[in-house]
């Protein structure tokens, strides 16, 4: 674990992976007859070149922070929660119910309630696979991914059968009332006189930042966090130390599901303002890549989430501006995920060897890390 200095682990390897992914994407873009540099310029400019771009980038990033943190905490307990998609869908249901059922006078009251609603629904959806894993040994990868399908089917059923506005044709709920709408970055910044484009970026971005900090605090500054990490490193050792596997599995997965569910306050409450069918937009799966790339550290997750947000937004711009087809944008995003997630070892091992060779040289006065 200590073969690499911390900065190399957190920053250098992801940067190299990203560069490799971009080079391969560039080659693919060239093959379909487009200028890769122009494409890159459009993507970068579209993602961070204007307040409009930043607004959308950070809006998507907010989604990915929540789902990325959800995957990250499960990773620390060596649980591979790939059910973020389903947990976020259930979270969206919780948020929508809270927002629609009660006539909120002001968003400051609606937001905490929606946070509770989203978190409880998301956690509940994660609880069943967690319990099965802890007591029955049903593999969490299998159960969580199957729960994604159940969540999607459940949502469709509810939208079509009960939540749909009578007489409307589209399977979606009514718009949330005025009191349950979150102020956007445009509204907030207008108060202090900063002009900002109309984007869906809203106050839940701050909630996401708070969640990063809170998760860091939990993992590295509390006893529970230590137990989670100890359990993740070695289950027998943790058991020997008196840590209950059932308890840690359940708690880690409940927090994970709750974080995934929180995504809905950004997507459903902050942007769509109504419950629609595929509101999660694959963010649950992107969260896995974000957690991998961020090395399951809240700061890393935040940075990786912003990167993926930029990729999403830049990709959308690319599709608008050029003849690059939408599928191509997905290919570029997939390449980034492939290089940062799956092919991580390809860069890591040679780099570890390199660092080891440098460190072998005896340096007087430098303590071994």
């Amino acid at each position: 674990m200590d073969k690499l200095p911390r900065w190399a682990d957190i920053a250098l390897i992801p940067a190299i992976n990203l560069a490799l992914a971009l080079i391969v994407s560039g080659i693919v873009v060239t093959f379909i007859g487009q200028d890769p540099f122009e494409a890159l310029a459009i993507m970068v400019n579209g993602a961070v070149g204007s307040t409009y771009g930043w607004g959308y980038t950070l809006y998507y990033a907010t989604n990915f922070v929540f789902t990325g943190l959800a995957v990250a905490i499960a990773f620390h307990a060596r649980l591979f929660n790939i059910g973020g998609e389903g947990q976020a869908q259930l979270g969206s249901l919780g948020v929508a119910l809270v927002s629609l059922m009660i006539p909120w006078p002001h968003w400051t009251l609606a937001l905490p309630a929606a946070i509770v609603g989203g978190a409880v629904f998301g956690a509940a959806w994660a609880a069943i696979p967690a319990y099965l894993q802890a007591t029955r040994g049903s593999h969490i990868v299998i159960t969580t991914i199957m729960f994604n399908f159940i969540a999607s089917a459940l949502l469709v059923y509810l939208l079509v059968e009960t939540l749909k506005v009578p007489g409307s044709m589209a399977p979606e709920t009514a718009r949330f009332p005025e009191g349950a709408r979150l102020p956007s970055a445009r509204d907030v910044l207008a108060v202090i006189g900063v002009p900002f484009s109309r984007t869906p970026l809203n106050v839940s971005f701050l909630v996401a930042l708070f969640a990063c900090w809170a998760l860091w605090l939990l993992l590295w500054r509390t006893r529970l966090g230590f137990e989670i990490r100890a359990f993740g490193r070695s289950e027998p050792a943790a058991r020997y130390a008196g840590i209950s596997p059932l308890r840690i599995t359940m708690i880690a997965m409940l927090i994970s599901g709750a974080l995934a569910g929180l995504m809905a306050i950004n997507a459903v409450m902050g942007e769509q303002e109504r419950l629609i069918q595929d509101n999660v937009l694959g963010a649950g799966f992107v969260g896995i890549a974000v957690a991998l790339m961020g090395r399951s550290h809240p700061v890393g997750v935040l940075i990786a989430a912003i990167l993926f947000g930029a990729l999403y937004q830049g990709g959308a711009e690319l599709e608008f501006e050029t003849a690059v087809p939408r599928e191509m944008v997905v290919v570029i995003q997939a390449l980034v995920i492939l290089f940062t997630g799956a092919l991580d070892g390809m860069v890591r091992r040679p780099l570890e060897g390199m660092f080891l060779r440098f460190r072998r040289k005896p340096k007087p006065g430098v303590a071994a890390e």
């Binding site: 459009i42 409307s168 399977p171 629609i276």
Partner: protein, 333 residues
């Protein structure tokens, strides 16, 4: 630093081209795909016809998912597209909130009414066109059973089914009409496999003419009909050419005209907002007759269609519109 410079230059260039592109019309292709051989493709054809005739250019983008409707619509409006044409009822609630934010931009929505001062809503009298193809189906059927495959189960599609059933029953009161819907979500617009399965199941129940009103799913329906050797009726675009010999006709819904007219009138600067109903009279809906189905359409059929069409236009014959009271006298769902 040089890289940064490159980006800023690129930004300036994009900004310039965006300025130059002002007031081009924009078209947002809906879920189901541009080449669904039906609804979306009809809109695309209309836009292409406008390009060919006027040499103008327009902006086009294809919707990737339900959740990106709003971003796509805003992006189109912010890039200066005018009018922005959106396709399908699913855009209604998004357009309700987007349109007031861009009072200078006109929007056109097909298949749904959005009550905003800068929105033109184009709706079609699908029940009338469906009545005519129902009439033809009943006349062509030998088994006395005809069938309908819908896409997503929404009032709009029931309107098709209801018109179709009324047309069929007008030929013979005892004719049986089977109706199936592919699904309850937008995925039902693009599921040709399930469309084919439903058709086979209807054939096993005795149907020998099937009418598909299901977007991209319809391709599977028409294919299954061709494979099993029964007659099929296409929808939205003229689909007669797809399977010559088994395509009885197509209930053409001139989405292409709606798009073409919107583009054209925007160029002339006289786009009228408000509701526009396109029916049999102005060829907004019609029965497709061409060389591909000439052998299948008998003279009696043609005469009956012409007669019914004239009666509907004159008001002598009234076809019940499902969406007017959410019920159908000729068919139960």
């Amino acid at each position: 630093m040089t890289l940064m410079h490159k980006f800023t230059t690129a930004a300036a260039v994009t900004a310039l081209s965006a300025g130059a592109a002002l007031a081009e019309p924009g078209l947002i292709i809906d879920l189901g795909g541009k080449f669904d051989k039906s609804f979306n493709e009809s809109a695309y054809t209309g836009a292409q016809r406008w390009v060919e005739e006027t040499g103008g250019s327009y902006m086009e983008t294809e919707l990737a998912s339900e959740a990106q409707r709003e971003q796509t619509m805003r992006r189109m409006a912010e890039r200066g597209a005018n009018p922005v044409v959106v396709l399908g009822f699913a855009n209604a609630s998004t357009l309700e909130t987007v349109a007031p934010d861009y009072p200078e931009t006109n929007f056109v929505i097909v298949d749904m009414v959005v009550d905003q001062p800068n929105v033109q809503s184009v709706v079609f009298s699908e029940h009338q066109g469906s009545y005519l193809v129902g009439l033809m189906a009943a006349m062509a059927s030998e088994t006395g059973t005809v069938s309908f495959v819908g896409g997503m189960d929404v009032p709009l599609i029931r309107k098709f089914a209801c018109g179709y059933a009324q047309g069929a029953k007008s030929v013979a009161d005892d004719i049986e009409v089977i109706s199936n819907m592919t699904g309850t979500t937008p995925a039902a617009w693009n599921d040709p496999v399930k469309g084919a399965e439903l058709t086979r199941s209807q054939i096993s129940q005795g149907s020998d003419v099937v009418f598909a009103a299901a977007g991209g799913t319809g391709v599977g329906v028409l294919q299954a009909a061709a494979d099993e050797g029964i007659l099929a009726i296409g929808v939205d675009s003229n689909q007669n050419y797809l399977f010559p010999g088994t395509m009885l006709t197509s209930m053409v819904k001139r989405v292409d005209n709606a798009v073409y007219d919107a583009f054209q009138s925007a160029e002339a600067g006289d786009l009228e907002t408000g509701v526009q109903v396109k029916g049999l009279e102005d060829e907004g809906v019609a029965v497709a007759m061409d060389e591909y189905n000439a052998d299948l359409v008998t003279e009696e059929m043609q005469a009956a269609v012409d007669e019914a069409r004239a009666k509907i236009i004159s008001g002598e014959l009234e076809v019940h519109d499902y969406t007017s009271d959410d019920s159908c006298p000729a068919l139960t769902f």
